[in-house]
Each structure stands twice: as structure tokens, then as C-alpha cells.
């Protein structure tokens, strides 16, 4: 029912591994269906490459429903492509036109080295979380969940910040490769909740320190991250992180 009718020119970044240089390689694709997702279009490309005996394009993907945060393509100059509030896997070919040329590159940042083709290493994010993106409560130590009422606006705001999927689109799109939206989302979530108060000061300091150590750039408030974030994480979080960090440094 979804007989494909789109013909496309793809320019895809091919890079053997982290030690070699890469370049854009051009591929022609025929009979693409507008109902395909962007990654399914890549499946078609890869199937063709395999049949031809060439190496398929390596790209990260897993859940293909926009929540795991693994997919990461920089499409026509924008992370996750032209549609807002979606990840690459949720982008469908109906967002493109027959005859389009599409340039696909990996996330580019010193802190996200390329592993192969469109696959990058985002473990820097894990290391930042490991420095304080948690509440230190061992299993079995919790009181009854309703003993501590949380005002709905706070709970909702914390949830909005917690919606971050850690895909790294903010870093990819930022002209400075800054990770502030990601880091601030976690700092905000925990700063907004009563449970997060105990470690508030140390959390802000150590997460920011790790962020800097990883080699992410600085924020110049262009707001690109907020626009490109597939989960709509707000710049308010960065401001909150700034406050948290300053307050933490004043205190200690």
C-alpha cells in the first residue's frame, strides 16, 4: 500500500574508525515511500549496499520510537532533521520531497568522538551523571511515597526536565558543542524536588566540573539547543543550573 515513489540523493559521512578521516559519500536511492521512517530509509540503503558487497552505514539506533535517545543523525544541518520535537527515528520521509538531496553527518563534538560512520561515543554523558546526577538513597531506605507531598507545579516542572533522553542533539546543534542543556536538565529535575535538596550544592559543582573536563564548549545562549531538543527541554533549566552553581560556590 505504501509503494515508494521518492528518489533521493544522500550524502552520508563515512568514516572507518576514530583514527581515520572521513568524507561525505554520495548515494542515490530510488522508490522510497513517504511512510518510511528516516532510519527505515537507511535500512533500504544498507540492504542495497550489502547486496552490492559494500559495507553498510553504521548508525546508532535502538527503540525506534523516540525515547531511548540512541539515534543521532545530523540531517541537512540540523540534529534529528527538519521537524521539531522528534528524534531521527520518528522523522518520516513525508517530511522530504522527491528529488531532495539530504546531507547526513554524525554529531560533531570533541567530547563525542566518532566511532564509525554516523556512530559517536556519548559516554561523556554517563560520566557527568555519575558525578552527581542522582539522589543518594540506598535501596530499602525509603519512607512511604506519600509522606512527602510535592506541589504539582514542582512535580510537573521536574518531570519536564526529566524528559531528557540524553541523545546529545543539544551538543550537536550548539555552535559551541556545549552540553549545558543536558546537564541543566538533570540538575533542575533534582533541584526542584524536595528529595534532591540534601545534595544540591555538591551536585551542581561536581556535575559542572565534569562537564567542563569532558571538553564540551561554553554556552553563549543562542537558544539553538532548546529549539532542536526532541523533548522540548527548556532554556529555563540552564538558567536554573547557573543559579544552582553560583549559589553552590557562594556557600562553599
Amino acid at each position: 500500500m505504501s509503494q515508494g515513489n521518492m528518489n533521493l540523493t544522500l550524502k552520508v559521512w563515512r568514516q572507518k574508525n576514530s583514527k581515520t578521516n572521513g568524507q561525505l559519500v554520495t548515494y542515490q536511492l530510488k522508490d522510497i515511500s513517504p511512510d518510511m521512517s528516516f532510519l527505515e530509509m537507511f535500512d533500504v540503503l544498507n540492504e542495497q549496499l550489502i547486496v552490492k558487497g559494500e559495507e553498510p552505514v553504521a548508525f546508532d539506533h535502538d527503540c525506534r520510537e523516540g525515547i531511548c535517545g540512541m539515534c543521532s543523525m545530523f540531517i541537512n544541518g540540523r540534529p534529528h532533521g527538519p521537524k521539531s520535537k522528534v528524534t531521527t527515528c520518528q522523522l518520516h520521509m513525508r517530511s522530504f520531497k522527491d528529488g531532495d538531496t539530504i546531507v547526513v553527518e554524525p554529531w560533531r563534538a570533541a567530547a563525542f568522538p566518532v566511532i564509525k560512520d554516523l556512530t559517536v561515543d556519548r559516554s561523556a554523558f554517563d560520566r557527568i551523571i555519575a558525578k552527581g546526577g542522582y539522589i543518594s538513597v540506598n535501596t530499602g531506605n525509603a519512607q512511604d511515597a506519600n509522606n512527602l507531598p510535592i506541589p504539582k507545579p514542582d512535580a510537573d516542572a521536574a518531570f519536564s526536565a526529566a524528559a531528557c533522553i540524553g541523545c546529545g542533539a543539544c551538543v550537536a546543534t550548539c555552535k559551541n558543542s556545549s552540553a549545558m542543556l543536558f546537564v541543566s536538565a538533570k540538575i533542575s529535575q533534582l533541584a526542584l524536588l524536595p528529595q534532591g535538596q540534601v545534595e544540591r550544592t555538591t551536585r551542581a559543582k561536581s556535575m559542572v566540573a565534569q562537564m567542563d573536563e569532558e571538553g564540551f564548549g561554553n554556552c553563549s545562549n543562542t537558544g539553538a539547543c532548546e529549539v532542536e531538543c526532541p523533548k522540548g527541554i527548556s532554556l529555563e533549566n540552564i538558567a536554573r543550573m547557573n543559579r544552582e552553581f553560583f549559589a553552590a560556590n557562594i556557600k562553599e
Partner: protein
């Protein structure tokens, strides 16, 4: 303590804070500068203006503030330079194709260039006025017996080349401010749904008014509206 504060200033957020604070400080200078310079619009042959200039040149607080101002300016520039270099290092391999227009304003992405243009302008501007008033001396006094900085102004803005340079300066300033003003508040952590429109509005109208006034000065002199 000194160690942690040193660390604080070296941190990405510390640098941001410094950029914001120095930026806002420079904004406050712009306000004073623009206010005093607007005295020329009294069109009284520069009497009011020269009076203001005298106050600025002799008031001890202002004298001290001049050093602070230069310090702030240098800090703002040095920080900008460090940040730009760091940011460039954060992305060693550039994208082949980017579409920044889709997610941000061109001037937000061009603060470095706008700032550099401003610096260039500033050098010319200082050579035109500040160097003369401080070091090489001004051409005589006005009717009130004040040093006649106004005369220098009339001289400079007779030259269309300078007028053009000043227009470029104002243009750079306008867009630098349009991003910089609200951005400074964001860097200081002042982002609140309720007050954001206020900050944005304030920034916008400040930019428009200050820059229009600054632009009006050379133009009105060049056109002979002010004598």
C-alpha cells in the same frame, strides 16, 4: 577559598557569569554615555554637552570608574577570546553543512564578529575623542569656559568616512546588544516565565533607543541639523 574561587572563574559557568556581569556593566556605561551625548540635541552650540563632559572629566568617582570601565572592557574581551578559542576546540571537525537559521538568530551566533567590529570601532572612536580630551588636548574653550569637546565632534562628523564607520559601529552595537542584553540575564540565572517578557522588552527598547540616539548624532551633525 581563593583556590575554589579561582576554579569558579575558570569554570564554564564562572566565565559565563563574568561575561554577563561585564556585559551588563558596559551596558550601564552605554546608558550614561548616551545620556550625556544626547545633550548635543539641545543644539546650543555644545554648551550643555561640554558642561557634561567637564563633569565627567573632573568628577573623582567618574575618574575611578574610567579605570573600572577599561578593566571591565578588557575582561569582557579577554573572556570572549578564551571562550571562543575553547568553543572552537570543542568541535575540531566542523560540519559540512549547517542550518543555524533554523534554530537561532544570526546575531546570536555572531557575537564574536560583532564584538570584534565593535572593538575596531572603539579604537577609532577613542582615537577621535578620548585620546584628544585626555592626552593631546582640545581646541580651546566654549562660551562657558569649558573645554570644547563639542568642536571635535563637529569636526569628526563632517567626514563622511567617519560617519560611515560610526554607522557600522552602531549597527554592530545594536545586534550585539540585542543578543547580549537578555543573554546576560540568562547567564546570571535570571530566567523566569513571568519576568522574561520584561527583560526581553527592556533589552529590545534599550537597544533601539540607545542605538537610534547614537546613530542620530553623527547623522544630524553631518546633515547640519546640529551646529
Amino acid at each position: 577559598m581563593s583556590n575554589t574561587s579561582g576554579k569558579f572563574l575558570q569554570s564554564s559557568l564562572g566565565k559565563k557569569l563574568l561575561m554577563g556581569l561585564t556585559g551588563l556593566f558596559l551596558v550601564s556605561f552605554l546608558l550614561v554615555h548616551c545620556f550625556l551625548n544626547s545633550f548635543i540635541f539641545f543644539n546650543d552650540g555644545g554648551l550643555m554637552f561640554n558642561q557634561g563632559a567637564k563633569f565627567m572629566a573632573t568628577n573623582p568617582i567618574i575618574r575611578v570608574m574610567e579605570y573600572v570601565l577599561f578593566a571591565g572592557l578588557i575582561l569582557h574581551m579577554v573572556q570572549a577570546l578564551i571562550l571562543t578559542m575553547q568553543n572552537s576546540k570543542a568541535r575540531p571537525v566542523k560540519y559540512a553543512f549547517t542550518n543555524g537559521a533554523a534554530n537561532s538568530k544570526w546575531y546570536s551566533r555572531s557575537m564574536g564578529i560583532l564584538g570584534s567590529l565593535l572593538l575596531l570601532f572603539l579604537v577609532i572612536h577613542l582615537a577621535n575623542f578620548w585620546v584628544k580630551s585626555r592626552f593631546t588636548g582640545l581646541p580651546g574653550v566654549d562660551a562657558n569656559g569649558n573645554e570644547n569637546l563639542y568642536l571635535v565632534m563637529l569636526e569628526v562628523f563632517k567626514n563622511p568616512l567617519f560617519v560611515a564607520v560610526y554607522m557600522l559601529g552602531v549597527f554592530s552595537l545594536a545586534f550585539h546588544l540585542l543578543h547580549g542584553f537578555p543573554s546576560a540575564f540568562q547567564s546570571l540565572g535570571l530566567n523566569h516565565k513571568k519576568y522574561n517578557p520584561l527583560i526581553k522588552g527592556l533589552g529590545f527598547w534599550f537597544t533601539i533607543i540607545v542605538c537610534l540616539l547614537f546613530a542620530a548624532m553623527p547623522i544630524s551633525i553631518f546633515c547640519g541639523l546640529i551646529k
